[in-house]
Symmetry: D2
Subunit: 250 residues, 4 copies
């Protein structure tokens, strides 16, 4: 059981996990049984079953390290997720998808075909009953129309310690600014680029000896781990949204 | 001996410490002896003697934690610094200066009297043969005229992980953005506020449970340590400037 | 509200903080009101009032950095503690106690006089209504008889990442072993030296460039911060004992 | 250029990397050219060519996460290594070797056949011109005879913050001791188990909420990253041995 009170917003957050062994209400009756209390409290609520894995579609462009991390964790089975499909605007990482025998779909995107391609992508996601989309270094900006179909269900990894170095090429920005630490940030995607609620962040120390290439190399390890942790928290339903912030019951 | 080659800027940085025992050139003859080689290499260079302590003036406003940290380290004598005077725009921290028997000068600053007050401050610094100014949570912006008198010799502590949360009230900004990590940054002061070369940074993990007050409390520990480390590196002449970046031979 | 279930030991831990505004039971009636429920549950429980500061006696030997840290935090008043007396087996840090106007008592200890000195110390603690003893780099081992008078109320700082480098001179041990990280550990004192329940730990990265003296210098910052955090958690009654482990509701 | 002086052991360590463009001595003549100076200094020295990749044999048992990490980094080609063969005492991770098309050899080991199996392994290593052996969670202890064939060339990952929790089952030990931080250590293998020179360590924070299984899960990420960093430093010839310690020019 985890609890949090936001005394400023006057909101109460709660997560409870219990064992159904010897529980008198059957799984199918839980929602009906809980609804009256929830209504009385004016609560927003959801019940998830531990056996049910989250269905994730991974969007990727040319870098494979974040995808690789997610596939490896699925294979390890210590995350309650399955990855029934991978989408990309390029075909570069297809061999990795093939090795894991996961359907791989290429949707090249340009300003003209974007609305149409996104429509096709959405169809594909619906057919595959996808719960959550993970942008594993996906280099396209999703449209507002696309995003609103999956509210609080699109997770991105940004390769900087947000809000520092928003936008493109954060490692180059970091190198030029001469920071002593670089970071990575995993957040929910909203219409405001790089402004969505942050799920997880971490950092690594750098020095004047590190070139931009070193930052990219060191940052890769960070991106993988930070994204993996965020997906873990999300898949375990440990993340609750609180406006533009998150509650993470870790 | 420490060395760094900036292959982009084509600059070579070098720091060497040696023992004068049995050295044929006397201390007073070192500069003359080295000058010809330095000229040949087109080098910018300086020779410091280990016995000579750096003379630091601390500027402070109302928060005493960073001042306290510096005074304690001076007292411990593991830093090669002495603090012959403390300047403030308020009298709040005078008791701490008194306890350490360090002259404390108040210069209240407002837009009208600022040029005059800065002139008086500069006189006082000169009389006291100050090498370096440390802004230990000093809440006034120094003028360009003031700053250019101490190039690469004014150290500030900013209570955020720069370049995130520049400007005022970074803890409030961090709280509102919902970051999972906060930081502190110590940097040299230049005309561009919060944009000077970074000497040292560090971070601490936070969570949704932390209020703005908690961030201030946790950040205080960070500010103290980060500023103290930066002053240590500077006082040991381990920091070399490289444009808007630093080389820190730690 | 914080909760933890130890599924192995079958124990349920719970901490709740509430506002007495508009609460029908008066403070003086709380214990009586709660007792029946607690008895039914077989609970071990305590009620603390936020206004009531924890009374701490600091034991210290010759190093003053940890004592200094605690005194400074008391002065800042962001910790719910007061420090009515300081005990030492030496008189080295008396000036610091004097500055803070805190009674300072010297009890030189040797194998012969130890039982008698400890008796005197215990008397003094009792007269001063001390709740908790903090060993701020106190270099004497307390007897089992002494420890059992303050169960779960004696906090120590050990200058290593326990259980690595137990016993004396951990920085020298760390230097000789060539570790790349050093740590500090704050724990409750039990009869088994360096084996008590751990409250807080932290680390700092080192390298081959660091001498034993550098480890001592870097470690000092760690010891101060780790001890201060442990005292904070303890003073806020955020630490619950679970056998030889702690639950820290941070 | 990196330099270190061990003032206690009176030893001078040095690593220099240079560009052969326009260098008058040809690569094949470097050793002959440098030898006289080295002899004069009584130096232990080696010259490595950047183009030449280190040939690594990975030894593994049943856990694949560390192996996977190394294979992925080889594939990325940002490490100057190649992995021409994988050895194991089990066949569990064969599919991963097959996917990467790396020869996989199984040598089941028991007390009786150990000398013979090790002889066969050594033959295989010799035939494949292996420079370095990486024990990527290999659960067998190598004999002294085996180890002395590859002095300073066998790298192990131990899943604890050495010297804490030496020996078997460190996560269980850590859980039972109630530490607040766990670590991983990569070190050179010597005859003294878990006592070899440490190359790299890192840690992750844990809490009372973490079960032994959580420690294993969190530790896996640490082991992978720590081992990968150690192999990187080693492959770039950034690690020099100094008795039972290492100099890492990072």
């Amino acid at each position: 059981m985890h609890e949090h009170v936001d005394t400023i917003e006057k909101t109460f957050f709660f997560r409870v996990v219990w064992d159904m062994d010897g529980f008198r209400i059957p799984p199918s009756g839980l929602e009906e049984a809980f609804a009256p209390l929830a209504n009385e409290l004016g609560a927003t609520w959801k019940i998830h079953f531990k056996g049910r894995k989250l269905r994730i579609a991974v969007f990727v462009s040319k870098y494979e390290h974040c995808l690789q991390e997610l596939l490896w964790r699925q294979r390890l089975a210590d995350y309650p997720v399955e990855i029934p499909l991978i989408l990309s605007n390029h075909s570069d990482v297809k061999p990795m998808a093939d090795y894991h025998r996961i359907p791989f779909h290429v949707f090249p995107v340009n300003p003209d075909n974007k609305p149409e391609q996104e429509r096709k992508e959405l169809d594909l996601l619906e057919i595959n009953e996808i719960d959550t989309i993970v942008l594993a270094r996906y280099m396209q900006v999703l449209s507002a129309q696309f995003i609103e179909k999956y509210p609080g269900q699109i997770i991105n990894i940004h390769h900087s310690f947000l809000p520092a170095f928003m936008g493109g090429n954060p490692y180059k920005q970091a190198y030029e600014r001469g920071v002593k630490i670089i970071g990575a940030t995993s957040h929910y995607v909203t219409e405001d680029l790089d402004e969505g609620p942050i799920i997880e962040q971490d950092i690594v120390r750098i020095s004047h000896r590190d070139t931009t290439e070193d930052l990219i190399r060191k940052g890769r390890d960070l991106e993988r781990i930070v994204l993996a942790r965020a997906v873990y928290f999300h898949a375990e339903h440990r993340v609750l949204l609180n406006g533009r912030k998150t509650i993470v019951f870790d």
